[in-house]
């Protein structure tokens, strides 16, 4: 049964990536009628997660350009003064290479065969865009306010590692203490370093109570100079400087004193909220969040249709009046689209290339008694790059079978050393042999305009560690486009449960 799409809606949303899902849920929640479409058979678009069985779908993105006869046929759906515009299919994820890696130890039976025979391929959840949530960050706040939090569960990222490199020892991975208790128990810090660190944390606590202007005054001439200089004058040694900048200050790339302090205070504020670490990771992987926001949109009436060819939009008098999907016309008052769909005739205002590699392994980069969810900031090893990090997640996060791990390397492309090189150095040092890997380039494309006034281009994939900027950009886009409506307002407590059955009533056990 191929059911007909609606003839008319307020908003058509193209693509089910996280930003599109957030915007769809905000529109539906605000009472707009929404039709949400995706060319793919799966949710998530360029923000998806895949099982090992399905990950090949990321390469199978064949959308043929419309030929002249197709354009003629679709043009029959147009009325006077309307113009057909073919939708784009931009390469947001490109240069994809995926390979199983033969290993000596698997000589008898390749790992792929082992996994298939044990029905473990579906136990993987391979993220295109792995991020973490800050416990008191914008994403957690939005999830709670909208009650999308009902649909998701999280795990604490319970280990942060700080890499140091020396010519003789190579790369060493040092555990980062986050809470005061952990700091005092840490073996990685000397007594003097612990004292300096506690002094810094105390300063953060006091500094965070000041307003912006007062905070800036306290930093004096250091405010807009490198954070490391400020730490040095505070009596923080070089090693501890690196530690503070790259772990406590991880939320800010290349920080000044001002931005470094803001990042550190954000970090400290989230410590202890759900546990000793400030960071959370979604159970079953980050692609889950797109689906969760889509569910909220559906609960408020949004229609979902995956796997439909989405071919063109119809423009009249500078506005989009309709979308054409699978040969059907759907009239609409607004369109929200993933950057992927922006027509080829519209120039991108900027594109940032992000290097991504995912490895599957059967040994952690740092063995522990219990499996850990791990975050490493590699900034100290790639000082020229804006972003360099590793995230290792496994069975505990429901992203790999028991005893297996996914290691996500993410980096912007600057400097001589790639993030891949560093990841593989870490593997070699710790005797980790990946058995599978996928590499690709993610293109973070921004558009100043989409060629019509009632089109919203959703935020692109980005290299940020957490979700704050995605949430805030969605909020701004929503409030600019629909200034009279609320963006995912705090929901009233639902009347979930009816009166309980009288005590006397019992179910007979079989």
């Amino acid at each position: 049964m191929d059911e007909k799409l609606p003839e008319s809606v307020d908003v058509v949303v193209l693509g089910t990536g996280l930003p599109e899902a957030i915007l769809a849920s905000a529109c539906a929640r605000a009472g707009l009628s929404v039709l949400h479409l995706d060319r793919n058979e799966y949710y998530g678009g360029d923000w998806s997660s895949f099982t090992m069985s399905m990950v090949h779908e990321v390469t199978e993105n064949q959308v043929k350009k419309l030929d002249s006869s197709e354009i003629s046929k679709l043009s029959e759906l147009l009325t006077e003064n309307e113009q057909l515009i073919e939708l784009g299919n931009r390469e947001i994820v490109e240069n994809i290479e995926m390979t199983w890696i033969p290993r000596g130890k698997d000589e008898e039976k390749p790992m792929k065969t082992q996994l298939e025979e044990a029905s473990q391929m579906r136990r993987f959840s391979i993220d295109l865009v792995p991020k973490i949530l800050l416990s008191k960050g914008a994403m957690v706040q939005t999830l709670c306010d909208s009650q999308v939090s009902h649909y998701a569960e999280f795990k604490l990222v319970n280990r942060q590692l700080c890499p140091t490199e020396t010519p003789e020892a190579g790369i060493t991975l040092n555990p980062v203490p986050c809470s005061k208790g952990e700091i005092f128990q840490s073996n990685a810090l000397s007594i003097l370093e612990k004292r300096a660190l506690m002094k810094f944390i105390t300063f953060c606590t006091q500094w965070s109570t000041k307003d912006t202007e007062e905070g800036r005054k306290l930093l004096a001439e250091h405010a807009d100079r490198p954070f490391s200089e400020f730490l040095e004058q505070m009596g923080v040694g070089k090693t501890l400087q690196s530690f503070i900048i790259n772990t406590i200050g991880i939320l800010q790339q290349r920080p000044t004193a001002m931005t470094g302090m803001l990042a550190s205070c954000q970090f400290m504020d989230s410590v202890g909220h759900f546990g000793p670490s400030p960071f959370l990771f979604p159970l079953y992987g980050c692609g889950e969040l797109s689906q969760c926001f889509c569910r909220l949109a559906a609960v408020f009436g949004s229609l979902y249709c995956l796997g439909r060819p989405v071919q063109a939009i119809v423009k009249k008098d500078g506005k989009i009046t309709a979308v054409i999907a699978n040969g059907d016309r759907v009239n609409c008052r607004y369109i929200v689209m993933s950057p992927r769909f922006v027509p080829e005739t519209v120039p991108a205002s900027s594109t940032l290339k992000i290097e991504r590699i995912v490895y599957a392994t059967d040994k952690s980069i740092k063995e522990a008694e219990k499996e850990q969810l791990t975050l490493l900031n590699l900034a100290s090893l790639r000082p020229d790059a804006a972003v360099s990090r590793l995230v290792e997640v496994g069975f505990e996060a429901c992203t790999a079978p028991k005893g297996h791990f996914l290691v996500h390397a993410t980096g912007t492309q600057e400097g001589e050393t790639s993030v891949k090189t560093i990841a593989e150095k870490i593997f070699e040092k710790n005797e980790v042999e990946p058995y599978w890997k996928m590499s690709f380039t993610a293109n973070s494309m921004k558009f100043d305009t989409a060629g019509a006034e009632n089109v919203v281009v959703a935020p692109p994939v980005d290299a940020n560690l957490h979700y704050a900027s995605v949430v805030e950009e969605c909020r701004q886009l929503f409030c600019t486009t629909w200034p009279e409506l609320d963006f995912l307002p705090r929901a009233m407590k639902k009347e979930e449960e009816e009166e309980e059955e009288p005590e006397t009533e019992e179910i007979a056990e079989n």
Binding site: C144, H273, E501
Partner: protein, 216 residues
Amino acid sequence: MEDYKYLFKVVLVGNAGVGKTCLVRKFTQGIFPPGQSATIGVDFMIKTVKVGNDKIKLQIWDTAGQERFRSITQSYYRSAHAIVLVYDVSCQPSFDCLPEWLGEIESYANRRVLKILVGNKVDKGDEREVPERIGRDFSDVNQFDYFLETSALDATNVDQLFEQVATRLTNDMKLTDERVHQFRADATNSSSSTGGPIKLIDRAQTQLNSCCTRQS
């Protein structure tokens, strides 16, 4: 403050229009929604039932209409303890689609999920297109744990359906508890301070409660 022994997630799937929402509403609220409206605004409902001496909470999830164009999320199936697959006995196509639904369940649901097959709308006796025997055979062949015909309209077998779910899940869980208890006894020495999954809302509730406490 735990006032129940187990909380089970029960999800309903099946074609649009087979009466999934009506089944949920009839069981949880005792009402049959008027009209033919699609499933909008329905998220999940919680109903407490008793199994023996235990209070059991069923958290019953509806599709929110995402099945209309076959676009249910994988997320919907996550952590489900039971899946109720519903067809309409007066609509042969809804029965013919069952293999597709089974395919989704096999792909996305927990392997050990309880599978229930339901033929709804038996109140439409004269319009029946799927004999009970055919439904039961399909259930047997595809290893459903339970098969039942219902009517949400006149409440035929609705309570029985969910009571069966609650009873079977509770009995399974008690068996699991016994095994886990045995395992824990053996493993007492190892420090199993496993951090379980975190629900954001629990923390938010706690925060709200402590705020209220402070103010009063």
